[in-house]
Amino acid sequence: MIEKIKQIEQEAQTEIATVQTLDHLELFRVKYIARKGLVPTLFDSLKTLESSIRPEMGKHLNDLRNKVQKLFDDKKEALEKNLHSEKESIDLTLPGRKRWIGTKHPITQTLDEIKRIFFKMGFEVAEGPEIEDDYHNFEALNFPPDHPARDMQDTFFVSDKILLRTHTSPVQIRVMEKQKPPVRVIMPGRVYRNEAISSRSYCLFHQVEGLYVDTRVTFSELKGTLVAFAKQFYGSNIKFRFRPSFFPFTEPSAEMDITCFLCKGSGCRVCKQTGWLEILGCGMVHPNVLKNVNYDPDKYSGYAFGMGIERIAMLMYGIDDIRILYQNDLRFLKQF
């Protein structure tokens, strides 16, 4: 019996080595492992043995069965793996199936980032019309009729007293007309200027206006808010300066500059050799404006600021022609 077991084991080992296909392996299985195969047949012959040696022989037989089974399993795994890799022998350097890629316009990206920062600082969003009346666009903002300050903003007119807003500041008036202080809003939107179209100016652009009116709002606070914005937007190591300027609806008025991030302040073409980049205009809400919306200027004060989104986007991405933002060339849009 022992010899028989050893013989089968050897035969199986020799034979398995010659197996190359799954079909051949099946023959192997039938010959050794299947119900009528050599190993089960040996098990059957166990009962013909003397009961004293049966357990020992049984143990040997079990070993044999495990060994043959393992030979079979290993071979099967190896063959299947081979077969699998043969199927996959397709050229894997072929490109994958790509999906479409969408893009967000750089103006939207810039605006979204500005909004995100002001949301964190407690500002809400307000909106107003692009077709405005003279009162909201100019008069209520302390631009008297026939005042040279109106020349600062070349205007498209729809009729005598109706125009395309030249800035988002009229939204300030509309918000304050509807709401009592405190007011803390930003007002993004499209504005129009009747200027010749060139690489530096387009007939329309986008602004974000900000307004905060409450008791005890100061210029110092205005600086604080805008510096906090600029540091979040441009990085906390920027340098900044506020210099006096003029807007009819704010007083004192200022322009905020930051160190040119292209030349780090040493002077270049973009900053016109000054080392500084103007990023926004701001100031304390003029008492006449507060009076126009029936706020008591002795009780309330406020600040306002405004920035041009295209300008900021152009500086940020190094775009030197504003018109490209409105051409919507996909080769351009896909860069963002």
């Binding site: 316009h105 939207t108 077709i131 498209f156 109706i162 329309l204 110092s220 506020f242 004192p252 008025s253």
Partner: protein, 810 residues
């Protein structure tokens, strides 16, 4: 405003470098936009002496000159007819940029390099007056004074070592539109005093009053009119120093009289005007408004139709100048002028601005008057001009000034509360410092309260600062001089946040959806031609002063812009486009109330445009072009994303200006938008050779309908049952009708109906269509039994058979 540093130094001591000065001015609100070194224009130009002139061996018109330029003698080929030995000339060396090219029609500058002219080496260029931009003479080289030191840089010889600051003066600061005005600001921050030139006029014994009479008929628009009479003048060109001064700030020299009036205006900011006295009837000046439609020819030889609100300077018979804007041709100074009447007046800013706007006529004078000249500055200016005229043009100044000034204009009296100053600025500036700042600015302190709890200071503003009227104006001045940078950066530790929970920015979320769906956002112009605007609405908003005809209307649809963007992209080689735009369209419909303005409506729209291959080019997929079902699918997915249901797509029967195969989108019977295909003839007009499918959706409406407050709905714990149904119907039965029947009889158990197959073919009869749907049933409170589902399912099949004559296939 161009400000010359050398000129400025006449009034105030300046120790700073030009860059430091520019910074100081900028930080005072007088933004220096550029610094120009005039001398730089003549880098590499020197004074030279022509030591030898020989004929060019190969060219008759050329000479070969040896020119001593100080350190060396150079050979230069010259073409000028007036060249001669021992001349002192201006020589440009290699690298010099010649300001004007005589041989270029526009006179564009060019750079000199070593050249060979007809085989002879030339190491520079002897220049003409024109080439050096010093005058118009092109006929020969410029010959300098014989004693000019050889080898001197030309800029130094010409006294061009000046620096010009281009200052952006804001409209509230007319006082800064002059050299003395800027000097005043420089003195303020540098703790210096300005020194004004002393005006000394030597008057003749003859009196002006015997020759001139002045009457202001409109004292509101002309509060002051001062005049002098100067006789026995010689009109000629101005001396070099005066020409140079004016040239440095870009003012053309005309003659000595006109130049002096311009010089004084640029010196002190007060505009002056000179009339040829002999052309005035009866030596009379009357200031009054014109008659409507009266014609008048201004100095620029243009005829203008006056209006009855145009303030005019007249003699006894006729108008002779548009007050404060421009003189008339009929009283112009000419070379024969002997006697002038010199005007120094103050006009009301509003009146001047109206006139200047009406005639689109802007002059240096009108700019200053409309911003506000100094009513008390007329006398200094007229005396300064009289003195200079006497020095330069000779002649006599008659005794006396006629000064009509019925009501003296005084500076504004303003109460400044220090508490308000603190409240606005945010820090305490000591009272003494405030008073010091005010005095530096010539703001007179007329009273300081000594009472307790009273922090007021009463001040009077100088009349050259018309922008200072209110307390806030004084506060700004104090802050400006104190320095904005010295005001600390402070942010309140407690920010007031809104009481309302933030409303999600829905547009942002929608944009994110389309970007995720592989589309690119575009942003386009909101102005278009009226023809384009009329394609989509009979009520476009028209612009009365458009930049050009292609922008005379506001857009009434985003589609035309979309088509243009598609065309441009295809033209540039990008033929696969998936685009969307969120933007407003505008109407002027008198019958609809706008949200903000009566008669004007603004509607937020979303437009999508798809064109080209519907799938990305792939090596194992067949490409096909977009059709209506692609755009429909995009919109269905979008509505699914924003949880909008009850959507109906209804085929249009009417034709549209731009599109065909349109489907109206309706939600709860309300019109939401359109999807469709752009018509072939429209595509052709736009120059697009591939199909375009589009969607055009009213954003305000979907925002209103979309469920913005997303609430969690508990998920069913029980399994769903899927049943498929296949049926054959006549081809006239539309798919949505089948779906409607299924839904109608699906009971509350039916959750979803999905079409997964559609088939036409001979086997089912050529007039038939076969559909296969998958139906999902579910209950929220128990596991459905086969029986329950069977009941509903059988009812559906029965109704399909009855109502649509459908044949159910097993």
């Amino acid at each position: 405003m161009r400000i010359s540093l050398n000129w400025l130094k006449q009034y105030v001591e300046i120790n700073q470098t030009p860059e430091e000065l520019a910074h100081s001015l900028t930080m005072l609100g007088l933004e220096v936009e550029s610094i120009e070194r005039l001398g730089d224009k003549y880098n590499n130009f020197f004074v030279g002496k022509v030591v030898n002139v020989q004929k060019h061996p190969k060219a008759d018109k050329l000479t070969v000159c040896q020119v001593d330029v100080g350190e060396k003698t150079l050979q230069i080929v010259c073409g000028a007819p007036n060249i001669a030995e021992n001349q002192i000339v201006a020589v440009g060396l290699e690298g010099a940029i010649v300001p004007k090219n005589q041989h270029d029609p526009e006179g564009k500058p060019f750079q000199l390099s070593k050249v060979s002219l007809r085989g002879t080496e030339s190491n520079g260029m002897i220049c003409s007056e024109y080439e050096l931009d010093l005058g118009e003479d092109k006929d020969g080289i410029l010959i300098l004074k014989i004693n000019a030191p050889i080898g001197t840089p030309l800029s130094k010889y010409l006294d061009l070592d000046d620096i010009i600051f281009e200052i952006g003066v804001t409209p509230n600061r007319p006082d800064a539109l002059s050299h003395i005005g800027i000097a005043r600001e420089v003195a303020t921050i540098q703790n210096k005093t300005i020194s004004l030139p002393v005006t000394k006029v030597i008057e003749d014994t003859a009196k002006i009053s015997s020759k001139v009479s002045i009457k202001i008929e409109d004292p509101d628009n002309c509060p002051r009119y001062s005049a002098r009479l100067l006789t026995d003048l010689k009109i000629k060109s101005s001396p070099e120093w005066l020409k140079q001064r004016l040239k440095s700030i870009d003012i053309r020299s005309v003659n000595n009289i006109v130049d002096i009036t311009n010089y004084v205006m640029m010196e002190c900011g007060h505009p002056l005007h000179a009339f040829d006295y002999d052309k005035l009837e009866q030596g009379m000046i009357v200031i009054k408004c014109a008659e409507e439609n009266q014609p008048f020819i201004t100095l620029d030889h243009k005829e203008r139709k006056l209006r009855k609100d145009t303030l005019m300077i007249c003699d006894s018979h006729k108008p002779i100048a548009i007050a404060g804007v421009m003189g008339g041709e009929n009283s112009e100074i000419t070379k024969d002028t002997k006697t002038i009447l010199l005007e120094s007046a103050y006009f009301l800013p509003r009146s001047i601005r109206k006139t200047s706007k009406h005639f689109s006529l802007v002059s240096d004078a009108s700019q200053r008057f409309e911003r506000g000249a100094d009513p008390n500055g007329t006398i200094w200016a007229i005396n300064r001009a009289a003195q200079l005229i006497q020095e330069i043009a000779g002649g006599k100044v008659l005794n006396g000034i006629i000064d009509v000034y019925p009501k003296i204009v005084e500076g504004e009296k303003v109460i400044l509360r220090l508490s308000k100053l603190i409240e606005i600025v945010g820090i305490t500036i000591p009272k003494e410092m405030v008073i010091e700042i005010l005095s530096k600015l010539s703001i007179k302190v007329i009273d300081i309260s000594r009472r307790e709890n009273d922090d007021t200071i009463i001040v009077q503003t100088p009349t050259f600062r018309p922008d200072l009227q209110l307390e806030i104006d004084i506060i700004e001045e104090v802050a400006r001089i104190y320095g904005y940078d010295n005001i600390p950066v402070h942010q309140a530790s407690l920010i007031k946040f809104s009481e309302n929970a933030p409303i999600k920015n829905q547009i942002s979320e929608m944009k994110a959806h389309f970007i995720g769906a592989g589309m690119s956002e575009i942003i386009t112009n909101s102005m278009q031609t009226i023809q384009t605007a009329l394609l989509s609405s009979p009520h476009p908003v028209q612009i009365s002063n458009p930049i050009s005809r292609d922008m005379e209307s506001l857009r009434t649809s985003l589609l035309p812009n979309m088509l243009e963007v598609i065309r441009e992209n295809i033209f540039r080689g990008t033929t696969l486009v998936r685009l969307f735009e969120f933007g407003n369209i505008y109407f002027n419909n008198p019958y609809i109330a706008g949200k903000y303005l009566k008669e004007y409506q603004e509607v937020a729209m979303l437009t999508i445009g798809l064109s080209g291959s519907a799938n990305r080019v792939n090596w194992d997929e067949k490409s096909r072009f977009y059709d209506i079902f692609d755009i429909k699918g995009e919109i269905e997915s979008f509505f699914e994303k924003i949880s909008l249901d009850n959507i109906k797509f209804i085929p249009y029967s009417t034709t549209n200006a731009l599109s065909e195969s349109d489907l109206r989108i309706e939600i709860n019977s309300e019109y939401i938008g359109t999807i469709g295909m752009i018509r072939k003839d429209v595509l052709k007009r736009f120059g697009i050779e591939q199909d375009v499918v589009f969607a055009d959706i009213d954003v305000d409406k979907i925002i209103k309908l979309a469920d913005i407050k997303k609430k969690f709905m508990s998920l069913s714990k029980f399994p769903s049952v899927i049943r498929d149904i296949a049926l054959v119907v006549h081809r006239t039965v539309q798919m949505d009708r089948i779906e409607e029947v299924i839904k109608q009889y699906g009971s509350e158990l039916l959750r979803k109906v999905e079409l997964f197959d559609r088939y036409t073919g001979e086997q089912i009869g050529k007039d038939n269509v076969s559909y296969a749907f998958s139906l999902e049933f579910i209950s929220s409170d128990h596991t459905l039994t086969q029986n329950e589902v069977d009941k509903v399912f059988n009812n559906i099949t029965k109704k399909l058979e009855q109502q649509l004559k459908a044949v159910i296939r097993q």
